[in-house]
């Protein structure tokens, strides 16, 4: 029973914060709301017995990405931004989104997915570490390369206006 | 070149300076020359030229002070530049004053900022304290007085201190 309540609360937090992040008038509020959405997802990960992923989500998403976003927003937004001229598209977009959500949800609910899970002991950090260094070590190296490349790219972009 | 007679024997450097200054001829009038202090007068049209001469030929490389004095009896304001020297041989003890008298009604003077960049703030101060306009100064804005100052410049003799209006 408790699990369901927590799930509902976290899901509500995630969804509402996600909507607010897109719809808040000030982008700064949107960015902060996005951080709450990330936090909700992290809570959902804990509910899914993936604590390590949840903590990683917090450290990376909130400690780095949300802060970076917020910083960019504060740097970029001078006054209240002039909203885009795409207002007519909005109802259309809402329609698409709702249709997508409804259709996929219906499909998912009619399919026979399992509703039970086994509490397993091989979901620990050690297992993740074994996978990362063993089976997916090549992916890990590629990932390191991607991260390095992204840092180089970001630095290049930041240096662009200095010249 | 009419010089007041120095009372004591001048040291060597001062003598050399006086001699060098006399080469400018009528443009420069020697006010006094005593040990360590020499004062000369110049007309306002010649100030820039004389100061250039002082800088280039006499090796006075900076301006230590700019001051102005109001002489209401003569209706003149005397602007005095005090030049000092660091690199000149034996000149560090000497202060060379270049004075220029301008009429109070038309208190204008060419700025020496191109010759001696160190006069920038001194000239600004003199300008606001005495109402002298330094032509060619890039930034003659208010420096020390409050922003809402709307009296005559305070260093003029016509300006009486508010606490002393009823006479001394």
């Amino acid at each position: 029973m408790n699990e369901e309540i927590i799930f509902a609360a976290l899901a509500a937090l995630t969804i509402v914060a996600a909507i607010v992040s897109l719809e808040a008038r000030q982008v700064v509020y949107g960015a902060i709301s996005l951080a709450f959405s990330f936090l909700g997802v992290a809570g959902l990960f804990i509910l899914l017995n993936a604590t390590f992923v949840a903590l990683f989500q917090i450290i990376v998403y909130i400690g780095a990405i949300a802060v970076l976003i917020l910083f960019t927003v504060m740097l970029v937004t001078k006054d209240v931004e002039a909203e885009s001229k795409r207002e007519p598209i909005r109802p259309f977009a809402i329609l698409i989104a709702v249709a997508l959500a409804v259709v996929v949800s219906l499909v998912a609910s009619f399919s026979n997915f399992t509703n039970t899970y086994a509490v397993s002991s091989n979901l620990t950090v050690a297992n993740i570490g074994a996978l990362l260094t063993g089976e997916y070590s090549f992916a890990l190296e590629i990932l390191a390369l991607i991260l390095g490349a992204s840092i180089v790219g970001a630095l290049t972009l930041a240096k662009l206006d200095k010249e | 070149m009419s010089a007041t007679q120095p009372k004591m024997e001048l040291p060597r450097e001062e003598k050399a300076l006086v001699a060098a200054l006399s080469s400018l001829g009528e443009k420069v009038k020697l006010a006094f020359a005593k040990p360590n202090r020499i004062k000369i007068f110049a007309e306002r049209n010649d100030v820039v030229e004389v100061s250039r001469f002082i800088r280039d030929n006499l090796h006075f490389d900076h301006c230590a002070n700019v001051t102005g004095t109001d002489f209401p009896k003569d209706k003149q304001i005397e602007i005095t530049y005090h030049f000092g020297s660091i690199d000149g041989e034996g000149l560090r003890r000497i202060i060379l004053s270049l004075a220029c008298k301008v009429p109070s009604a038309d208190a204008r003077l060419p700025s020496l900022i191109n010759e001696f960049p160190s006069v920038e703030l001194h000239e600004r101060e003199t300008a606001e304290m005495l109402g002298v306009v330094f032509d060619g100064h890039p930034n003659l804005k208010r420096l020390l007085l409050p922003e809402d100052w709307n009296d005559i410049p305070p260093m003029l003799k016509a300006y009486r201190l508010p606490g002393r209006l009823e006479g001394e």
């Binding site: - | 202090r37 230590a64 002070n65 208010r142 007085l145 305070p154 260093m155």
Partner: protein, 375 residues
């Protein structure tokens, strides 16, 4: 929209800048205001705005006779009272045509040098707190009080002694002065070693000051800076050497010169000068002659008409008075040439292109004391 060669319009670059006003209520400015324009972490423009302490002392002297001006002029440079009265007294004596006795000369030198240490210690404390070093703020300000005690023994006040006056000094030193002074200076020299350990040799201090705010020799001369700033820019110039007043010819001392021309050099000059001042006072205490200390002057002492320009080496540099007299009991015009005002001109030059974090260090390394500069 004007577009520069790099494809970025100049107008847009303007908008990335942040204009910050420092002062007058700011821990890093004091009674002074300057507006800096910041781009990233770099200062691109500086707009000094002095005048918050402009009190018009020069005009006021025209209403006071030569003795009465002394308490007034002292307040123009409260950290350095003896040395601001020095050139005034010298100029007034030149106009009055009097000679003062040698004991008075030596007493003047004692006061002057003691005051120099006091002023440097105040400078040191503020420089340290500007760099974030609270201990080095407390130590000099504590030890400074001991030196102030010495001044108090002679001058009768903590700071405003009104000790040098035209015609000599006001009073002789008390009998136990020498013993107390030597004790204090012995203690103080030991403290200076501690100061070096904790501050002047601290690697963080070196990192913060070395290569920061470089003022080249040619520029220093051209802009007419004086005092420790000039000496830190590799110029061996000191009024005590160049144009010895009092009896500075009779004492041995060295003048520090540093080739680095940066903030570090300006800091080291101060440290060096404190040691030299102690050395001078020790010599004077050994050789001071007995005799009278004051030439009796009438309160309404008249002067010769004419003008006098006298200067001494104050703790911040050459302090000069230009007095024009019309023969009366009061000066016709007094102009004070203060070192702070002369050094202000390089503030802009040094700050542009430096980090925001270096701003307080550079600012205070010029030893810019707004009260003195504004007069």
């Amino acid at each position: 929209m004007p577009v520069g060669a790099t494809g970025i319009s100049t107008q847009q670059v303007e908008e990335d800048k942040l204009v910050v006003s420092i002062g007058p209520q700011h821990p890093g400015a004091g009674h002074f205001r300057f507006t800096i324009t910041v781009e990233g972490d770099m200062i691109v423009d500086v707009l000094p705005d002095p005048g918050y302490v402009h009190r018009g002392a020069e005009k006021q002297t025209e209403y006071r006779n030569y003795t009465q001006s002394i308490p007034l002029l002292e307040r123009s440079s409260l950290t350095d009272v003896t040395n601001i009265i020095g050139p005034y007294s010298l100029a007034a004596e030149e106009l009055m045509g009097i000679e003062i006795p040698p004991r008075a000369q030596y007493l003047r030198m004692i006061m002057s040098e003691n005051q120099r240490i006091i002023s440097h210690l105040y400078w040191l404390g503020i420089q340290a707190i500007f760099l974030g070093h609270s201990t080095m703020f407390m130590w000099p300000l504590g030890d400074r009080d001991l030196l102030i005690d010495l001044g108090e023994m002679i001058g009768g006040a903590r700071i405003t002694y009104s000790y040098w006056i035209p015609g000599g000094v006001r009073n002789d030193i008390p009998g136990n002065f020498k013993e107390r002074a030597l004790k204090t200076y012995d203690y103080f020299e030991k403290r200076l070693v501690d100061y070096e350990r904790i501050f002047f040799e601290n690697p963080l201090f070196l990192k913060r000051t070395q290569g920061v705010g470089v003022l080249k020799r040619e520029e220093a001369i051209r802009f007419g800076v004086v005092g420790p700033v000039l000496r830190a820019s590799d110029v061996k110039s000191d009024t005590r050497l160049d144009e010895p007043y009092c009896l500075y010819k009779d004492v041995n001392f060295e003048v520090p010169v540093y080739k680095e021309c940066d903030t570090w050099a300006r800091c080291m000059v101060h440290l060096f000068e404190m040691r030299q001042s102690i050395r001078i006072i020790r010599q004077i205490l050994e050789k001071i002659p007995s005799g009278s200390v004051r030439v009796k002057l009438s309160p309404q002492q008249r002067t010769r008409p004419g003008e006098a320009y006298a200067r001494v080496e104050a703790s911040r540099g050459a302090m000069a008075f230009h007095i024009i007299s019309d023969g009366g009991t009061k000066p016709y015009r007094t102009k004070i040439s203060v070192p702070s005002f002369r050094n202000l001109i390089v503030l802009k030059k040094l700050l542009i292109g430096s980090h925001v974090a270096d701003m307080p260090a550079i600012y205070w390394s010029l030893d810019y004391w707004p009260v003195e500069a504004d007069r």
